[in-house]
């Protein structure tokens, strides 16, 4: 579709207008920490090269979601209304993640209506990166940091204006009526991919030939990597009994790094130690999602590497796995 120029001077004004009819969510810096938040004043939005410490997944897949409520008299209350939302300033790595999450939640036999509903009512506005931050490795995944087409509108910083490429009707509708100039931004050249980081191996080999205990020795099992990861999507259901015999069912985030994640009612735990759990996390990202949906569920955003209190590094772990398997394969 078309490309539009949004002058930086007019951006706040346009966003303030958009805010009147949509819930606007964008990166905001609060006490030095950049995170996605519901915007109160368009001027506080920070569109920069910096990456928010958390991914924007919580606006499509909330940390806690009320699924239903029933009482002793029966009756189900459907989940709450979702407002029309504009999710602004999503980096290509996070857009890739949203694509992967949609594959998990909205394709196949079972469809997560909450997620599908939110996704339908959300306009995704992407923003390109001009340089890599420390620990980013999107260039070794299939993500192009400067452009992504998995969104409705994509912004590229062009000095005193943003070039907004529109990819969908929703995006067109968002920017209609602002009398913006259509420009020719030229043909984009996709940046050259470096060596792709992935695991091509049998699950059996990965279980048996890798010394997971050594690889995960320093892990504390805190699970922060899963909370801030753009593609982690495990959840649990929690039934909360209220005082008058009413029960509310919540869908809450869970993390495969917690021992309770796989704990059976009998007390048996199939993934008892932290190396089992970390193995699950790496293989889920690099093997299982690929087997099921065709994507590798790691977009190279580097969040888990930057936030880990003990410097666990999924990038070097995967590299090391490949090294070990290659060496063993040759022998």
């Amino acid at each position: 579709m078309s490309t539009i120029a949004i002058p930086k001077l007019k951006l706040v004004e346009i966003l303030d207008k958009i805010k009147e009819s949509y819930l606007l969510v964008a990166p905001v810096r609060n006490q030095g920490i950049l995170d996605f938040a519901v915007v109160k004043e368009a001027a506080e939005i920070e569109l920069s090269n910096d990456i928010a410490y958390k991914s924007p997944k919580e606006y499509l897949f909330p940390q806690v979601e009320k699924i239903l409520r029933f009482t002793s008299e029966g009756g189900l209350t459907p989940s709450e209304e979702v407002p029309q939302t504009v999710l602004l300033g999503i980096k290509p790595c996070d857009l890739e993640a949203i694509k992967i999450m949609s594959a998990v939640f909205t394709t196949g036999k079972y469809i997560d209506t909450g997620f599908a509903n939110r996704l339908e009512k959300t306009i995704l506005v992407g923003l390109g990166c001009t340089e890599e931050k420390s620990a980013c490795f999107c260039d070794e995944r299939t993500v192009d940091k400067a452009l992504s087409k998995d969104c409705d509108v994509f912004l590229t910083d062009r000095g005193n204006y943003y070039a907004a490429e529109i990819f969908s009707q929703k995006g067109q509708k968002l920017l209609d009526g602002f009398c913006l100039e259509i420009i020719n931004d030229g043909e984009r050249v996709k940046e050259i991919q470096q060596g792709l980081l992935e695991i091509n191996a049998e699950e059996n080999d990965l279980f048996n030939k890798i010394d997971w205990e050594r690889l995960t020795e320093k892990c504390l099992g805190c699970g922060i990597c899963t909370y801030i990861c753009p593609t982690c999507h495990c959840f649990e259901f929690k039934d909360v009994v209220e005082k008058k015999g009413a029960v509310t069912r919540y869908k809450c985030w869970d993390s495969c790094m917690y021992p309770r994640f796989t704990l059976h009612a009998s007390g048996h735990n199939p993934r008892e130690s932290k190396q089992d759990r970390y193995r699950q996390r790496v293989l889920h990202k690099y093997l299982y999602v690929k087997q099921n949906f065709g994507y590798t569920a790691c977009t190279g955003c580097g969040r888990c590497i930057r936030s880990c209190p003990v410097g666990m590094n999924i990038h070097s772990v995967v590299k090391e796995i490949n090294n070990i398997l290659n060496v063993k394969g040759e022998n």
Binding site: K54, C222, C252, Y258, S307, C308, G311, M312, H315, S316
Partner: protein
């Protein structure tokens, strides 16, 4: 250059330990692949010792790994690590005779932007309280002189301050996992029966978690600052624990992690203890 000489000294000690004492593993610090991040290092051979890092960014508290290791273990311990080790000995979690502590005089750690790291900004203790061998810094260390401002805000503002911090928390429990003192097999927040936290992630749930954790650390906190350093949302929760640590020190003359023979303040009593909490009187 004193970090450098200390580092060489530590490496020499590690090599000697592997050779003469038959130590299985020594826990130390290493540079991570990403600049500005220090990661724990598990040395098993003399070659591994060459990877050791010792500079002003070695902030992680290594003591927690001791709980998982059995057999002859060595550890590079700066002051707060050593204080945590003392507490583990007091609480009978590890055995002293299986442990070799390389105490390192710590001049205070720094963040990437050269400000004092969380936990170091008011720490006046430079020499670890327990060690088998001490590696001196051999240079002038400037101690932080600022006395920390005590909690002087009005009680109404106290609640607001607490609630503002709680708004940031996402209940990921990273502060618990990283804390040396949180090693319960099953944490109270993970329990189903009784269910201490409400099902919803509400402000109340966050308050119960942080107050409960602070209470469990009363008189046990070694002020390593790991909880605040790890928090991805920047919750400044240490002020709560700091306040009660100071309080226990003043009232019961007990400081955690100094003397392995002393019983923690809340595990003993004195018949003449203060009646400060009784009805009518107020805790100040």
């Amino acid at each position: 250059m004193s970090f450098e000489t200390q580092k060489n000294e530590i490496i020499k000690i590690c090599k000697k330990l592997f050779k003469e004492e038959g130590t299985k593993v020594i826990i130390g610090f290493a540079q991570s692949e990403v600049e500005g991040i220090t990661t724990p290092l598990f040395m098993r051979t003399a070659e591994d010792a060459e990877k050791l890092k010792w500079d002003s960014q070695c902030t992680p508290n290594l003591a927690k790994y001791l709980l998982e290791k059995r057999g002859k273990v060595g550890i590079v311990a700066k002051t707060c690590d050593a204080r945590a080790i003392v507490m583990y000995l007091v609480e009978q979690q590890i055995k002293r005779d299986e442990l070799y502590i390389i105490g390192v005089e710590c001049p205070g750690m720094k963040n990437n932007d050269a400000t004092a790291s969380c936990g170091c900004e008011a720490c006046k203790m430079r020499i670890p309280p327990i060690y088998d061998v001490l590696v001196k810094y051999n240079a002038e260390i400037t101690l932080p002189d600022s006395e920390e401002a005590s909690n002087t805000v009005a009680i109404e503002d106290n609640l607001k301050k607490f609630q503002d911090e709680m708004k940031k928390c996402i209940l990921c429990y990273s502060c618990r996992q990283v804390c040396y003192g949180c090693y319960c097999k099953s944490c109270f927040v993970d329990m189903n029966v009784p269910n201490w936290l409400p099902g919803e992630i509400s402000e109340g749930a966050k308050m119960i978690f942080h107050l409960g954790r602070a209470m469990h650390l009363a008189g046990r906190c070694v002020e390593c600052g790991a909880c605040e350093r790890v928090c991805p949302s920047g919750v400044n929760i240490r002020y709560l624990i700091k306040e009660i640590t100071k309080f226990t020190k003043e009232l019961y003359a007990y400081e955690a992690g100094i003397d392995p023979e002393e019983t923690p303040a809340l595990a003993v009593f004195n018949p003449n203890d203060s009646e400060a909490a009784m009805s009518g009187s107020e805790v100040q």
